[in-house]
């Protein structure tokens, strides 16, 4: 059973398009995250939700909009895609609190051409 799943695994699209990435976790966690890992492998947090409430919103362009329909799902919608958005996007989940490990999804490799 997959703990944290993401779809799609690969996404190739052209500049200016709008795309969404979906994430689901079956661990019963209250907290979910979106991370971006760039070509240099830097892993940077973008957003975090706790029980459907946004608790972390890093300095991310407002073209990125997360949505949490329930605490098991956290989706990421990206408008007007740019070349610099090309990266691997990871979803993760954890129990609340910084003292709990995060479980990462398999990642979505986004390529913008």
């Amino acid at each position: 059973d997959t703990a944290v799943s993401q779809t799609p695994k690969y996404l190739v699209t052209q500049m200016g398009n709008d795309k969404s990435i979906k994430c689901e976790q079956n661990l019963g966690h209250d907290t979910m995250y979106w991370y971006k890992q760039d070509s240099k492998k830097f892993l940077k947090i973008m957003f975090s939700y706790n029980n459907k409430e946004l608790i972390i919103n890093e300095t991310v362009p407002n073209r990125f909009s997360p949505k949490s329909p329930d605490k098991a799902h956290l989706n990421l919608h990206i408008n007007s895609l740019e070349l610099g958005d090309s990266a691997v996007y990871f979803c993760a989940s954890s129990l609340p609190g910084e003292g709990n490990e995060q479980y990462f999804g398999p990642g979505t490799r986004l390529t913008v051409t």
């Binding site: 830097f42 990871f90 910084e98 003292g99 490990e101 479980y103 990462f104």
Partner: protein
């Protein structure tokens, strides 16, 4: 600011030991360690909390010097499966982890 990891890369022979360091400029509440293999997701190894609490895998050990804002991950009797990139993630108590620059480890037979 991103924590700095050292070394940037290390090559080991199977059975050798290694230490990976993580240094932050901020007062820390937690340090997390993750390993990421090529093309895969980061996988949890260990958490160290201010005050001394730790949790993680039995075969992994680490230390956390709260005063120096530093943590070290100790890999002993390395195995081929230890190869990958190791990341520390530091937190200041607000549930936001800032991940380090990464350390690439290659274990050869």
């Amino acid at each position: 600011q991103q924590p700095v990891q050292s070394p940037q890369a290390v090559i080991l022979r199977e059975g050798e030991d290694a230490v990976i360091n993580c240094s932050s400029s901020k007062a820390l509440y937690s340090v997390h360690w993750y390993r990421q293999k090529h093309g895969e997701a980061p996988v949890f190894l260990m958490i160290l909390l201010k005050g001394g609490e730790q949790k993680g895998h039995d075969k992994i050990s680490a230390s956390f010097n709260e005063k120096k804002q530093q943590s070290s991950l100790y890999l002993t009797a390395s195995q081929l499966s230890y190869s990958g990139t190791y990341f520390c993630g530091t937190g200041t108590g607000f549930q936001k982890l800032v991940f380090g620059t990464g350390t690439r480890l290659l274990v050869s037979p």
